[in-house]
């Protein structure tokens, strides 16, 4: 199991929360990305007619994940899109963690897409990224 995510039932009464895990920071980010994309819309119903290349660098994986997920929320509103998938790669160089990603999706289309929640922001409430042995875990609460 390289990576996975699950939505949490009871820790965000008015909002949504998920846990993601992976064998590496890169796999963790892939799982958390899938969770956020699923929160916004069913990715299977979203075409790939919009694309954005994004590079980010942060000093630790927790900041990298937070900033990356916040970027996805930004593009949702700024470009009026929802997402099919994101191809992403993470590398560590010294103390810096760098993400290179291609975010793919399509303009919002209520007739074609199964739309879900309009996420307002990624929060730091109960936010946690940790390594346990060889596995990386994250807990994220999103404000809807």
């Amino acid at each position: 199991m390289a990576s996975s995510f699950r939505f949490l039932d009871d820790i965000a009464l008015a909002d949504l929360a998920f846990e993601a895990e992976g064998d590496s920071v890169e796999e963790l980010l892939r799982a958390a990305t899938r969770a956020l994309l699923e929160t916004l819309a069913d990715p299977e119903t979203v075409a790939e007619t919009w694309e954005r290349r994004i590079t980010k660098a942060e000093d630790d994986p927790a900041d990298l994940l937070f900033e990356w997920l916040s970027d996805i929320v930004y593009w949702k509103d700024a470009a009026g899109v929802v997402f099919h998938d994101a191809e992403l790669f993470v590398r560590q160089e010294g103390s810096a963690w760098t993400l290179e990603a291609v975010l793919r999706g399509a303009s919002v289309d209520q007739t074609e897409q199964t739309l879900r929640n309009d996420v307002k922001g990624i929060t730091k409430h109960l936010y946690d990224v940790k390594q346990d042995g060889t596995r990386w875990y994250a807990r994220v609460v999103v404000d809807v």
């Binding site: 939505f7 949490l8 039932d9 009871d10 965000a12 009464l13 008015a14 909002d15 949504l16 916004l40 819309a41 916040s70 929320v73 930004y74 949702k76 509103d77 700024a78 009026g80 899109v81 929802v82 303009s107 919002v108 209520q110 199964t114 739309l115 879900r116 929640n117 309009d118 996420v119 307002k120 922001g121 990624i122 929060t123 730091k124 409430h125 936010y127 609460v141 404000d143 809807v144």
Partner: protein
């Protein structure tokens, strides 16, 4: 049933409960919760933890408060109220919320249920077409950076100047729909990018546009109701619940990050990262205040443009102008905001997060039309039950920094609600009960099922009995639009 806290909670009255400063290290003032015993026992652990965390913030005055619709939030609980000394106190985005100036607007009509019921399907379809809702929806108003700056500084006034409403609307909006001190230079390009295409949109989550009916048996104070333009007699009303959309959300996100760093510089320690704050008089505090006011004005403008669209939809469906249909604005009030207000202690910065201003009769901040009755307070319930119109009181000004409840408050998580019912089923059930729902997202609809919320009537009874607001009328839904 036991309370969801180990802290001591003392009864002050049947509707007011106090957690003393001895219950948590660092509390500067006691915490007070407005609730009946039943509501108090149904409150989640987060309410007790978070209201006492707020009571630890520097410069807090008198009490950290939570209203009866309170539940777990980010930093502050939803339903939270706290006032801070301007010189020694702080400002916190966690005390305002991600959706700056999320608020309620109520529009009256001269139409009755008999007029509307035969045309309800067509009316809801037209409203759904004219008021974009749901994730990523864009509005019809095209703005460039200069005109968006004007929206930030002029709020609903900008809308009136552009023809999206009537001049007299402004008198019935909190702060005249335009809060002073908004400075567009304090907002990021990211915030502008998220909001510039969203004027006139509802969003999703618990935001809605609702067509409602007020029947005679649900008018509790006929004289006050009449002063607010309510006739009872199966009168049709329209309620809107939304805020500053992606723009306000980004302002909150940006300044939470700014304040995390600023706190280290100012030596402020908080119990929860989401209570990140800065001294109100600091450069960071003043910048957030100016940016938050930009978002607040944008929210007033958002609800004003939506009002313009609602009036257009009614005029088209009923073949008469909005003026002829009597579609006057009853009131528009914020429930996520921080404002400088005067109290016996002097000028204070009052944070209201999921709490509504509730000034009493005679207050200079209450519109001239409502000087004798007090400020209108609009409280939205779940889409299945009903909403309430209330008025503010002098007692609220004395006890709660002029604040009261804002809605019913959730008792069930979104995930649990979705497991309990499918959106399509809920839509059908509601249709059978005479409530026509148009929704962008069926899963989002299921999350908003009535059983996921407290009984709003019990919440309203609490604030009515506590004397911090006086109930005027109940409004029952017949049509609802959700994102």
């Amino acid at each position: 049933m036991t309370l969801q806290t180990e802290m001591r909670v003392n009864r002050i009255t049947d509707e007011v409960w106090e957690i003393p400063v001895t219950e948590k290290p660092g509390m500067v003032v006691p915490a007070r919760i407005y609730a009946t015993p039943g509501i108090l026992h149904s409150m989640d652990r987060g309410v007790f933890d978070q209201v006492t965390n707020v009571a630890c913030l520097p410069g807090i005055t008198r009490y950290a408060l939570c209203m009866p619709d309170g539940h777990w939030g980010y930093g502050f609980p939803i339903g939270g109220v706290a006032a801070f000394d301007l010189e020694t106190g702080v400002i916190s985005p966690g005390g305002v919320g991600y959706d700056v100036n999320c608020g309620m607007r109520l529009i009256r009509t001269d139409l009755t249920l008999g007029d509307v019921r035969p045309k309800l399907e067509r009316l809801m379809t037209e409203l759904f077409r004219r008021v974009p809702a749901g994730v990523g929806a864009a509005g019809f108003v095209r703005l460039n950076r200069d005109s968006f700056d004007a929206v930030m500084t002029r709020g609903a006034r900008w809308c009136i100047e552009e023809g999206y409403g009537w001049n007299r609307d402004l008198a019935h909006i909190e702060e005249g729909g335009c809060i002073a001190g908004a400075d567009p230079s304090t907002v990021s390009d990211h915030a502008v990018g998220r909001g510039i295409n969203q004027l006139g949109t509802l969003g999703s989550g618990n935001h809605y546009l609702e067509v409602q009916v007020v029947s005679n048996d649900r008018v509790f104070d006929p004289e006050t109701a009449a002063a607010l333009g309510l006739t009872g007699q199966d009168q049709i009303m329209v309620m809107v619940h939304c805020g500053s959309r992606g723009f306000g959300h980004q302002v909150a996100s940006d300044y939470l990050k700014t304040f995390e760093k600023a706190m280290r510089r100012y030596g402020i320690a908080v119990k929860d990262q989401q209570l990140a704050c800065a001294p109100f008089r600091s450069p960071e505090g003043q910048e957030y205040f100016a940016a938050m006011n930009c978002a607040a004005n944008t929210a007033f403008a958002n609800r004003q443009v939506i009002t313009h669209q609602i009036r257009g939809a009614f005029a088209q469906v009923f073949g008469r102008s909005a003026e002829e249909l009597g579609m006057e604005l009853v009131y528009d009030v914020a429930h996520n905001i921080a404002k400088v207000e005067r109290y016996p202690e002097g000028e204070l910065l009052v944070h209201r997060k999921g709490s509504t201003r509730a000034f009493g009769p005679g207050s200079p901040d209450v519109p001239r039309d409502f000087q004798k009755i007090g400020q209108p307070v609009i409280c939205g319930g779940s889409m299945e039950t009903g909403s309430y119109l209330l008025v503010g009181t002098d007692r609220a000004v004395r006890e709660t920094f002029g604040s009261t409840m804002h809605g019913s408050g959730r008792t069930m998580s979104r995930a649990q609600a979705k497991k309990s019912i499918r959106g399509e089923q809920l839509q059908q059930d509601m249709k059978r009960r005479g409530i026509l729902v148009k929704a962008v997202s069926m899963s989002g609809l299921a999350e908003e099922a009535g059983f996921a919320y407290k009984n709003i009537s019990e919440v309203v009874e609490t604030v009515d009995r506590a004397g911090i607001t006086k109930k005027v009328a109940e409004l029952r839904p017949i049509g609802n639009i959700k994102g």
